[in-house]
Symmetry: D2
Subunit: 389 residues, 4 copies
Amino acid sequence: MGKTYKPAKSDKFAFGLWTVMNRGADPFGAPTRKPLDPLEAIRRLGEMGVYGYEFHDNDIIPIGTPAAQRDKLIKRAKQIGDSVGIRATMATCNMFSHPVFKDGAFTSNSAKVRAYALQKAMNAIDVGAELGAKVFVFWGGREGTEVDSSKDPAVALKRYREAIDFLCEYVLDNGYDMKFAVEPKPNEPRGDIFLATAGSALAFTYTCAHPEMIGVNPEIEHIRMSGLNSYHEICQLLEAGKLFDIHLGAQKPLRYDQDIRFGAEDLKESFFVVKALEDYKWPGTRAFDAHPYRTENEAGVWDFVEGCMRSYLILREKVAAFNADPEIQGILAEINEGNRALEKLMSGYSRESAAELKARAFDPDALAKKQLRYEKLDQLTQELLLGVR
Amino acid sequence: MGKTYKPAKSDKFAFGLWTVMNRGADPFGAPTRKPLDPLEAIRRLGEMGVYGYEFHDNDIIPIGTPAAQRDKLIKRAKQIGDSVGIRATMATCNMFSHPVFKDGAFTSNSAKVRAYALQKAMNAIDVGAELGAKVFVFWGGREGTEVDSSKDPAVALKRYREAIDFLCEYVLDNGYDMKFAVEPKPNEPRGDIFLATAGSALAFTYTCAHPEMIGVNPEIEHIRMSGLNSYHEICQLLEAGKLFDIHLGAQKPLRYDQDIRFGAEDLKESFFVVKALEDYKWPGTRAFDAHPYRTENEAGVWDFVEGCMRSYLILREKVAAFNADPEIQGILAEINEGNRALEKLMSGYSRESAAELKARAFDPDALAKKQLRYEKLDQLTQELLLGVR
Amino acid sequence: MGKTYKPAKSDKFAFGLWTVMNRGADPFGAPTRKPLDPLEAIRRLGEMGVYGYEFHDNDIIPIGTPAAQRDKLIKRAKQIGDSVGIRATMATCNMFSHPVFKDGAFTSNSAKVRAYALQKAMNAIDVGAELGAKVFVFWGGREGTEVDSSKDPAVALKRYREAIDFLCEYVLDNGYDMKFAVEPKPNEPRGDIFLATAGSALAFTYTCAHPEMIGVNPEIEHIRMSGLNSYHEICQLLEAGKLFDIHLGAQKPLRYDQDIRFGAEDLKESFFVVKALEDYKWPGTRAFDAHPYRTENEAGVWDFVEGCMRSYLILREKVAAFNADPEIQGILAEINEGNRALEKLMSGYSRESAAELKARAFDPDALAKKQLRYEKLDQLTQELLLGVR
Amino acid sequence: MGKTYKPAKSDKFAFGLWTVMNRGADPFGAPTRKPLDPLEAIRRLGEMGVYGYEFHDNDIIPIGTPAAQRDKLIKRAKQIGDSVGIRATMATCNMFSHPVFKDGAFTSNSAKVRAYALQKAMNAIDVGAELGAKVFVFWGGREGTEVDSSKDPAVALKRYREAIDFLCEYVLDNGYDMKFAVEPKPNEPRGDIFLATAGSALAFTYTCAHPEMIGVNPEIEHIRMSGLNSYHEICQLLEAGKLFDIHLGAQKPLRYDQDIRFGAEDLKESFFVVKALEDYKWPGTRAFDAHPYRTENEAGVWDFVEGCMRSYLILREKVAAFNADPEIQGILAEINEGNRALEKLMSGYSRESAAELKARAFDPDALAKKQLRYEKLDQLTQELLLGVR
């Protein structure tokens, strides 16, 4: 149909470096792809029209790298990024790969491990700041349990908060232009991870010393692992002004963390996530956190990258069509039945408005009869998605 | 073994009236039990040693009851309660049974339905206050969607909040001694319910005009419907000081809302929920929200009631045993490896503490080697639960 | 785009009468729609281009209907069906609504209940035969437990089989042209239903006295309730020659039985189900078992009916496009790498072929390197579904 | 309480070698334990009272091992086994770790990969036979898809069957005393695995050329990954005479494959699994397939081993107590209401028995009233499990 769906820098797409560096290992099998150098990953993503990259400290700087080498790597990352028009948009700290974190980082029962995690996080924040990342994400993948007797969750949350509060001060003290985002996940690699849902993470931010600095980084796959509706979860964050980053991908519900190409599963839910971001003109990057199927070889990695972006662009186009569709919009107008007088009464309490509302006679049986044409509305939506209207 | 596990009023058990009035109908079958009069339910519960009852407005006062009859019913409820030593501990408003709420109450797309819901809630609050309930619960079972195009979740949350804020003012204006608790549920009867998890509900309370008045009423079954860990979810609420009520019951994960007898499923998770409530001396009632199996006849209802309380008492006894078990406590002490110097550094940010932490040399490989005897710890816990130690 | 997607009788669509007679009640709410007469349902479906209807005995003939009235109802159903060109394609026996079945029918612990169920099934088979239904379905919705101590599953299966074997003989003895199909479901209304999956039901058929008479009636929603892949499950039945009926609908995974309009969820999985039926030229009716959203009024029921059929027709068109797409077919050809010599060796055991295979030198590392362009393949599939290629 | 719960060889416990050789790596983290030599694993298990071990070909003989070394390894395994009284009870072929199997083994789209898999399986069968294993398991962990367009499931099943049929002949031709068992799993490492459930695997066996040689090896964890009831699934296999091996472990439902210590989750379901095996005097080994928590070090591996066996022995003791409990048995007797006359009528079809059953007058309303004391029954069961009766 002649559409190219080529990404532009203005689309603000981002990829985690780890997504393309993923080698296809899984709990039952060895890697199927050769290692990809992070600097090469940055270059290649930039060339493909990607606006930004996200990274873990150790994606670019392995544990134990000497300081001089660290500085050189950061410099090279900047140079390559500049040359292909891509920047670091989010940084994060790997607190899950090394066995030292086997029972958590900020919530470990060992004070030494907690302290090491805090040190590592400060260093990762420094790298993030040097590379210009404005968002720093905390995915506490190991902050959880298999054995509930091993950690009191209330104590664990206090420890978590203490670390986050400390790091907020660190950022402020260093004058970094950086916000935090907590990334929730229900389970895997732990049996149960603390701050399991977008809601728990959001609630947690309000209990921190600097709630204005801390938001949430929801991931579609993590939401779907609990069978929840990613559109609903993301909208709660948007409405609260706490959507600080987003991870797009796909997942069949209630399975291990599949992390597959955005758009590969549940087109309707993906469509509504795009709709929320676009309708509310959310300013952040459209970041993908997923990885190529293990069956792919090195060449397939770039099909994965292209597919994620194409899916977003196609769905964005569908959003515009949805918003312009007279039949769909007609049903929506019909459904949303306002009543200025009542809305005024409800919009703010006064003794009088309460009295007036209490005195009002309603006929619930009559109100119940209203036709809500949701079968039609959803059918039209699906047909729009299927491209047959 | 001679233990009676008889409930005392001091155990502060409560039951929803609807739990014993449940007639065993389900989506595929007609009722299997005769109606039970609410006043009779109150009497019987009180006689069985139950401390409090929870109720929907329409459990006691059907829609359309004339005012005089309403007052009489309330008076009778009080009299009977007094006679058997049971009080109303929680009230709530049924905004789900009548077809008028088929597409929601506070989040309905119809202003009239929203206004009717607000009116009904005020009236229910009045009844709750008259009967002395200190907690008023909002379970927005119809606040959700099957068709995502039908409601913008961000708009829905604004409407939800507007209603809650209005009702807070109503309570304050009337001088009622009452707090609110939002009861989250992921789905059923709607495809997806807004404020799906304990976390979403908790987060929502912080965005309301009177956050100090609004907490959460988690239900074990609802948490397990999403496969989440009810101990973890409830502890987040406890730690935030926002556990305003609790609904105990049992459920196999990721099924329809089973609402079965507390203690009937997942003994370990139930044990830890009891442990959290007891160890933190949580002052609320231990309220059961579940219902007898549909296979039970009228007599079985009281076996259900007795079973819920017995299970709690048995598990509470196990909590004491766990806390007193030297081997278990020995492993816990061994696991929790403090370090006063490091803990002091981490406990509050200063430029100096950050510098000192950054300068500190850690050996992650060495730290990773520590044995964490969680196999043993969990085995001991299970054997304690099984009564063989 | 000018496509009408109007159903023709040759499309062989069928609906359960109960789907359009559904009144929108659910565990938390009263009906939202008025009753629909079954004969009116038959007429209306026939007029809309539907080929067949499926029915429970009690959809047409309520429990307790006198014999004369029964015969009259059957006669009227035939007349109306003839007048609008619709026939009974599947019959089944309601063994779940009446409280007598609260603990099962064929697997009840009560011999009297089992006997009553057998009697009711014979009568329902008679009605089915009179109306010309060639398939008789057993959905054992109450054949299960909440309390595992209450029924030994091995005993329950023996009872189940005894009933099925009896009824096979009954059909044979009466010379009815009728086959049986067991409809599996994992849970709801029971905590766990016996023969929970398509596989369990299929396996069970092989253990019956007349396996050739008994197949399976899978339902997409029931499969997705366990998070399984409906395309895979249905293909196993197809491959075994045991797909005797099918129930099409939609469902978000791992929730209560949503039973929503076919095509309303997971377009890709629905597409592959249609593809299997069409590619293998499966001769059965395309039967829908779902119901309108509870938010719909009486008029919306027919939007639901139309939507199911349109979705099927659109997806069928997509199947043809998929099969004709050169790029997609090119990748498929590339993936399927045959080897005539090896295939011959593997196709039937002989001492020589085994020896030759064992002696053969393979290079697994080299074989592992083959590119399998599944990212591209899936992206093309999704874009075809989205109508942008 | 003085009980030792020490395993005896007569308890017939078995462990997969891979369970104790597991090093604690997961998709997000490196190994936490040092490698354990398989021969050392055999020795240690034998010394701990374990009766048998299960193994993959490559657990003992890595890919590429020269023939002489292979023979030596087998000889050593035998010697060590003899010295500590442990034998190989089950063998299997690793067709999932090497990247050559990235898209399946017997169902790969590549004829060469399928042929290599067949060769590898024959060699593994030889090793199994040499070590005396009487059961050979097929866990087709890679036999599945993420991209449904990539494999026609019907074709895949045909390929699967062709391989199994070939290998049956191979076993017969070689005169090995060996049966096959297919091990089902719904997903992970593939998005969807073919033969996803115990039922699908069971059904598949009936379609093979030698159904009498092929049974099923269910794993509790795999069943619970789909939220199904492991007691029900295992009983269907038992009843069909197709339980050829079993894998015991524990798992929270609907998560990644947790593979945790038997008895660590859902005590009631574990109890009923043990009850089925014991009550039916199932003759196979009680084999554990799980692994120590990743948080454990090398020493904790043996706590894991001990815990699995202790849990089984404790639950076995509970089974005896359940079977001897007069109150429990009284309720069961009361529930199971026989009727000799009706049972005779139903037990085998004749025209007369059908006529008599049809003529019989039943009163469903009266039958429905029977009290089924399941609340009490389940409460007694739980209290027995909790050790308070």
